[in-house]
Assembly symmetry: C2
Homo-oligomer: 349 residues x 2
């Protein structure tokens, strides 16, 4: 008996790392982040239509593995992501990720994708989208403290979405700053490499922190933060991992993605459980004001939320036909008769 070919239902489109790089380079990273910021903002506008839950974390001494699910009732998505600060020294990525979209009505996956690169893009797109609503008007200079894997994506997203013209880089490792400066050559940004955090924040209206140590760190101290700046705090995203001195938090108006998760993982784990914070989606929908005064310190305490990954996967799903950069994976058992799984296996022999 000849073996029948699997039906179309058996296949799930898969975007490998190689194909993700082709997609990013086809669309262009800055353009792709601008498009991602638009879909993320649109999903933040319909925040209340999503099932929301803090991510499901499995902590170990070396790091954390997390599952981040959400659903809008039509489509379900989740991301697998790890965070292992010691990985870099061993030649591994600190963060790797992949994700899946599925149809809610059948439960069948419709997309599997690498998300290490996609997460870097969506994180920077989310930061810039938040800054568009919160940063002081006319901001042109951003300090970037921590020049690791996220740095260039942040710089390009802020240029594209917030019209930042100058980035001031600092990292405890000068090689990281050198790498970022080199990668940003020709990007249309003025790039200034600095020798200290203090030097980096000088004259900056926006300050982005994205360091990777899993510890209570103090990347920014209170005296470094003048009035009127916007702080984009990316690296404090895990219990026991923060970047800002508590005094900065107490002077700031704090904006977060999903409070139940941010109170566990964000900078605000340093504060009382009932410290007032504003949900970013409420600013975007106009329910709550964002920046109200030019001397106000706004802080986006970003930890990354499942809806951003959902938006990114949904966006990517829409790019499959546009770019053609994917393959079909034979991932779902699809017998002719759904009850005849055993017969399908036996007939394959």
């Amino acid at each position: 008996m000849s073996k029948p070919a699997p039906s179309q239902l058996a296949f799930v489109p898969f975007v490998s790392v190689e194909n993700m790089m082709k997609i990013v380079n086809t669309i262009g990273p800055a353009q792709m982040m601008a498009e991602l910021a638009e879909v993320i903002e649109a999903d933040f506008r319909r925040w209340e239509s999503f099932d929301k839950t803090p991510r499901v974390a499995s902590h170990s001494q070396e790091g954390v593995i997390e599952l981040m699910p959400t659903s809008d009732g039509d489509t379900y998505g989740f991301k697998y992501v790890n965070g292992h600060p010691a990985n870099m020294a061993r030649g591994f990525q600190t963060v790797t990720a992949f994700g899946v979209l599925a149809r809610v009505d059948t439960g069948y996956p419709i997309l599997l994708s690498e998300m290490t690169i996609l997460t870097a893009l969506r994180t920077a797109a989310t930061s810039a989208m938040a800054a568009k609503h919160l940063a002081p008007k006319g901001a042109t200079t951003m300090a970037m403290i921590g020049n690791g894997a996220q740095c260039e994506f942040q710089a390009l997203a802020f240029k594209e979405i917030c019209r930042i013209e100058t980035v001031r880089l600092y990292d405890v490792d000068p090689d990281a700053t050198q790498k970022a400066a080199s990668n940003l050559e020709g990007a249309g940004l003025t790039v200034i490499s600095c020798n200290s955090s203090e030097e980096a924040v000088t004259g900056a209206q926006i300050i982005t922190t994205c360091t990777a140590d899993k510890q209570y760190a103090t990347i920014l101290t209170d005296n470094m933060i003048g009035s009127g700046v916007h702080i984009n705090a990316i690296g404090g995203d895990c219990p026991g991992k923060t970047e800002l001195h508590k005094d900065i938090l107490l002077r700031s108006d704090i904006f977060v993605e999903y409070p139940p998760q941010t109170r566990i993982e964000g900078e605000i784990q340093q504060l009382e459980e009932d410290h007032a914070v504003t949900e970013l989606w409420q600013v975007i929908t106009g329910q709550t004001p964002g920046r109200t005064r030019s001397d106000q310190i706004t802080l986006f305490d970003s930890v990354g939320f499942a809806i951003e990954d959902f938006s990114a996967l949904n966006y990517l799903h829409g790019q499959l036909d546009r770019t053609g950069h994917y393959v079909q994976l034979d991932m779902l058992a699809d017998p002719d008769d759904p009850r005849d799984l055993f017969g399908m296996v036996r007939r394959a022999s």
Copy 2:
């Protein structure tokens, strides 16, 4: 500049449906379930070394999508699985699944596999492993109510692991029974197709229920259950989905996988929250007796637990070299310098 090939770290072994069928047919389904029962039993013996959490479920009107994570401190695993009872009528599988294993120390995935077929195998292997500890000595006849996708796997696993000689089949749809009977031809079992549940249970020492309706059903009523039998209840595995009349539960000694999950999803959702149940792993380790009397009704209220999937994925990981039936997926971004993710993407253009 020539594009460097991805390093070995970029790749994750992937077992497609086609390769899973090759693996099952290479090892043989009965032999593979016997081997799976051994690794599942070994993992139940070290139950306390696992991180355990009820699965993370996203319910909709049509069904449920679940993530089932666990970790033993060295290896992390999770399964994505859906349950959509209406799927069958639309030509989709009621249950499809895939899963991932990862290293806890780096967070890097080491295996991606289809799990629709693997779940069918591990479910039957777990049922038979439990029955080995709980069923009356010398049991030779099993009734099987519900002859869908799980049926033949159960029959073969009970033959191989519990020395069952006769199966008595019943399904509300005679075509399902016909399909199962046909698939079991030549398997070394006496197969008897029955016209009612009552007929099927006659003379059976083990009764397996595996129906798929998402509702409070009564597949077995109290008068059908004589003393001394072992009930293997597979289908009641979701809030609002049960198969047994409550009176049967009250006459039975009930064994479960993980009480916090089973109380939500299993037959015992019909009982008070503090109704006494025994954890199967305690029977396997000898901490608690299993069957103590020949007239006792034992009930394995099985809902499927993450550790069984972990065991199955770990077993499968060990079969990759044995069988060679897998491909490498370019799933993890792996730049030469872990901080230079952006440079890797740009150099690919």
